[in-house]
Symmetry: C2
Subunit: 182 residues, 2 copies
């Protein structure tokens, strides 16, 4: 079976200053490249959409930030799964959908690297899927450490990739993934 592309939370509200400064402005464009490739091959695509339970969040239901960004707008017939927590596997039928379609390989991209993408990728690997993370189709925001250390989005992103690569998934660029699966 063909690999599934899982796009996590690539929604307009992620541009809101509420989230702070982020790295990798090319993330959406690279995710869009993967989506184009998947559509060209007729491979399965799943769009994960976050609906926050926090009324302050730009992703709270009804807010203008909820829709997907233009680079990855879902087409009719492509599954869109909504979630309320970080993992795309919790409170959704993502795992069952993948099993029903006998999918073993998943490629993951989206926002943000260390939160929803990393949690989804950790679970994908632990659930037994052959997971690949498209590192240049992800991005992370700045983060404060417990001791007040300021981590830039790039530092957060890099550590997230190191953790993911060490145990949970292959970590590759969009170009490498395009070559691997074409």
């Amino acid at each position: 079976m063909a690999p599934a592309l899982i796009l996590v939370d690539i929604q307009q509200g992620l541009d809101d200053p509420w989230y702070g400064v982020r790295n990798n402005p090319d993330a959406e464009r690279n995710a869009g490249r993967l989506l184009t490739l998947w559509r060209e091959h007729g491979w399965p695509v799943v769009h994960i959409q976050h609906l926050s339970t926090n009324p302050e969040s730009p992703l709270y239901p009804g807010k203008p930030g909820v829709p997907h960004k233009p680079e990855v707008t879902p087409l009719p017939g492509e599954p869109v799964m909504t979630k309320h927590v970080n993992s795309g596997f919790i409170g959704t039928n993502l795992e069952q959908w993948l099993r029903d379609h006998q999918i073993e390989d998943v490629v993951i991209a989206g926002l943000t690297t260390n939160h929803c993408v990393e949690t989804t990728t950790r679970m994908a690997g632990n659930l037994g899927f052959n997971a690949t993370l498209a590192h240049d189709a992800c991005a992370a925001h700045d983060l404060a450490g417990l001791d007040g250390t300021h981590y830039t989005g790039e530092q957060v992103h890099a550590m997230s990739l190191a953790n993911i690569a060490s145990e949970f998934a292959e970590v590759r660029s969009t170009a490498e993934i395009a070559k691997q699966f074409s």
Copy 2:
């Protein structure tokens, strides 16, 4: 209902040089302190034990590294759940056990911060439990970044705590947790 203490992979094999250099040599002693407190109160304790599927691993079934460390040796009657992946919630009945016991609050500690502890903690929070991570009862090993950057165990540990505190769980010291729940 009382909070449950979930001790993750505090096993003898984690001392094997196979894992590299780590931070926080006090992790086991602090985990032992929490365990003593929980036993004194008669609160629920779950021991998670990793059984690796990799014959090279010190945690492969039958190897001398599989048993728990002396600071946290399970007592008869305390549940011991074995797992084969990072998350204590995948391939075990941990979630069902917590629900059956109507447990809402979980305190997590163990090895290693960025791998099995972090994955278990991310899932605990996402599954709706009120999760607290005992940061000084955890430890992490050195890690290589994708670009070859060498991260010390302390750096890995600190970023893990920052990620967990930002979305998934409260992050507190053993002393703070003892005060909070006593």
